[in-house]
């Protein structure tokens, strides 16, 4: 029986709480997260709700919960698109090699050279703002990350004798990739998904901080932070709530990724 790494337990628990809160917010929050309650305006934790209230008197805890749905939803959608596209490109590059591989990887280098915020602004100019733009922008910067990881992992698998055996049996590149390569690099892909989801949440918060994310009044952690700036000296709890939420979410997903990596890669575990 393998010992479960501590990082996996902590990261897994944080992620579980986060996902539960996000799903719960679709059915129930302490207060309606968009309900404006002026008498509660800028009241601190305890007086204006568990985590206090913002400049419109909206309940911070409810907004954090609803914001978790937004953040995770966008991060996961981006991962689903960018991760799939990147993985397909990566394994195809490893299978085809030659000029095709060079073309794919240089294309990824170009994608990678754009900071996500910059490409989001660019996309917002083309597509208009909103969640779709955010998702596409984050997905675009996920593609090269996944393509690189899966290509290098797949290349290692392609050098194995069982691939030669499969080729001998008369299987083509696509079939070998689906049946032999992907099952053997699944662990690396899963680890990347966990780590990149954390980065996706961070990028989403950054984009909505700049006003490029979901439109108000849908709660979003990044916009909560942006709103809180103005009241930094009078109502510091408004910064703390979303700030800590982002920190904990990213930390949790990174720990989950690290833990999964340690669990699936015994070599690395011995080294540390």
């Amino acid at each position: 029986m393998k010992k479960i790494p501590l990082a996996l337990i902590i990261g897994g628990s944080i992620t579980a709480v986060l996902v539960t809160a996000a799903i719960l917010s679709r059915f129930w929050t302490p207060v309606d997260p968009t309900a404006i309650n002026i008498p509660n305006r800028l009241k601190g934790p305890g007086v204006g709700g568990i985590l206090g209230a913002d400049h419109f008197g909206r309940d911070e805890l409810s907004m954090i919960m609803a914001g978790a749905w937004t953040s995770l939803g966008i991060a996961f959608s981006a991962i689903a698109i960018g991760g799939t596209a990147g993985t397909v490109l990566g394994v195809a590059a490893a299978a085809r090699r030659g000029r095709f591989e060079a073309l794919v990887m240089r294309f990824n280098d170009v994608l990678f050279a754009f900071p996500p915020v910059l490409s989001a602004i660019l996309l917002a100019a083309i597509l208009g703002g909103g969640p779709l733009t955010t998702i596409v922008a984050i997905a675009l910067f996920m593609i090269p990350v996944f393509a690189r990881v899966t290509r290098s992992a797949a290349l290692q698998i392609w050098a194995r004798d069982y691939i030669l055996a499969a080729r001998m049996a008369g299987k083509g590149g696509t079939r070998i990739t689906v049946e032999h390569v992907i099952p053997n690099i699944a662990a690396q892909i899963i680890v990347q998904i966990a780590i990149q989801t954390g980065l996706g949440i961070l990028t989403e918060a950054g984009l909505s901080f700049l006003g490029l994310g979901v439109a108000p009044p849908t709660p979003s952690w990044g916009r909560m932070l942006a709103d809180a700036q103005t009241y930094l000296s009078t109502a510091p709890h408004m910064v703390l709530a979303p700030g800590l939420a982002i920190c904990i979410a990213v930390l949790g997903l990174n720990l989950l990724g690290d833990g999964l990596r340690d669990l699936t890669d015994p070599r690395r575990r011995q080294a540390t």
């Binding site: 004798d161 030669l164 055996a165 001998m168 049996a169 008369g170 099952p183 699944a186």
Partner: protein, 275 residues
């Protein structure tokens, strides 16, 4: 003759400059039920020769000459026919049992997979055939083992699974590239015995590549000695090992530990004598 290789040369294209030839005109022939041993040190071209025979050379390699398999030239065959032939008529056993099996697939499925690819049989029939093959290569408790993943087996068992996969389609020719190198001596002997039985019972032709003269002496009818892509000598194993005709063979023999050499009745050349 079932396999007839005539003047096979393989050269590798370089990024720049002229291609490097690594196999310089090897000829050999092999018939059913025969075992040919190919000996040589690392880099002598043994593995390139075997890859050329199954048409799996990397794209940068250019083979010339003739490889006649049952009368057809493999080097001129279109890829489609070649891939039908590989696996069904030619089987291969690999050196490293650790990397020759897919770690994410049950061994039974790995054996059955080739069967289902080349013959239209049902899943259940393929599994039954896989079980029979595991029995044939003497995997103890094959019924339970068929559900195992490769990491749950020992090196010797994995190599047997490798042999079972190679034999699944009853090939005419079996190429074993250092099949026992990664195994310890007792397991080595068992694997060689299994191979030897298969050659005589199923009447397949076996090419056994090894750098271990002891292995060659035990199993090969005829032996080809290679050095730097050239044939040094070829002939009956008995003759090659007892009365080597080439200095390089003598040098190889004298590299054996004294005790192993004693079994071959061979006196090494005096030190200082030219190889």
């Amino acid at each position: 003759m079932m396999l007839n290789i005539r003047d096979l040369r393989v050269s590798f294209q370089n990024e720049s400059g002229s291609p490097t030839e690594v196999v310089h005109g090897i000829s050999l022939s092999l018939d059913k039920g025969e075992t040919l041993g190919i000996v040589g040190e690392s880099g002598s071209g043994k593995s390139v020769l075997s890859l050329a025979t199954i048409g799996l050379l990397p794209k940068t390699a250019k083979p010339t000459g003739e490889i006649l398999f049952n009368g057809d030239d493999l080097l001129k065959m279109p890829e489609k026919r070649l891939s039908q032939l590989r696996g069904s008529k030619i089987g291969m056993i690999f050196q490293e049992p650790m990397t020759a099996l897919n770690p994410a697939m049950r061994v039974g499925n790995q054996i059955a997979e080739g069967l289902r690819l080349h013959r239209s049989i049902s899943r259940a029939e393929a599994q039954a055939e896989a079980l029979r093959l595991l029995d044939m290569v003497q995997i103890p408790d094959a019924k339970r083992r068929i559900e195992s993943y490769p990491h749950e087996m020992s090196g010797g068992q994995r190599q047997r699974v490798g042999i079972a996969i190679a034999l699944a389609l009853k090939p005419d020719l079996l190429i074993a590239d250092e099949p026992t190198t990664a195994l310890d001596v007792t397991v080595q002997a068992e694997i060689l015995d299994i191979l030897d039985d298969l050659v005589s019972e199923l009447g397949i032709a076996l090419i056994l590549i090894s750098h271990d003269l002891g292995v060659i002496a035990r199993i090969a009818d005829r032996t080809l000695v290679m050095y730097r892509g050239n044939e040094m000598e070829q002939g009956e194993t008995e003759r090659v090992l007892r009365q080597p005709g080439h200095d390089y063979t003598r040098k190889l023999l004298s590299a054996l530990p004294r005790r192993a050499r004693a079994g071959l009745d061979f006196t090494p050349p005096a030190p200082g004598e030219a190889p």
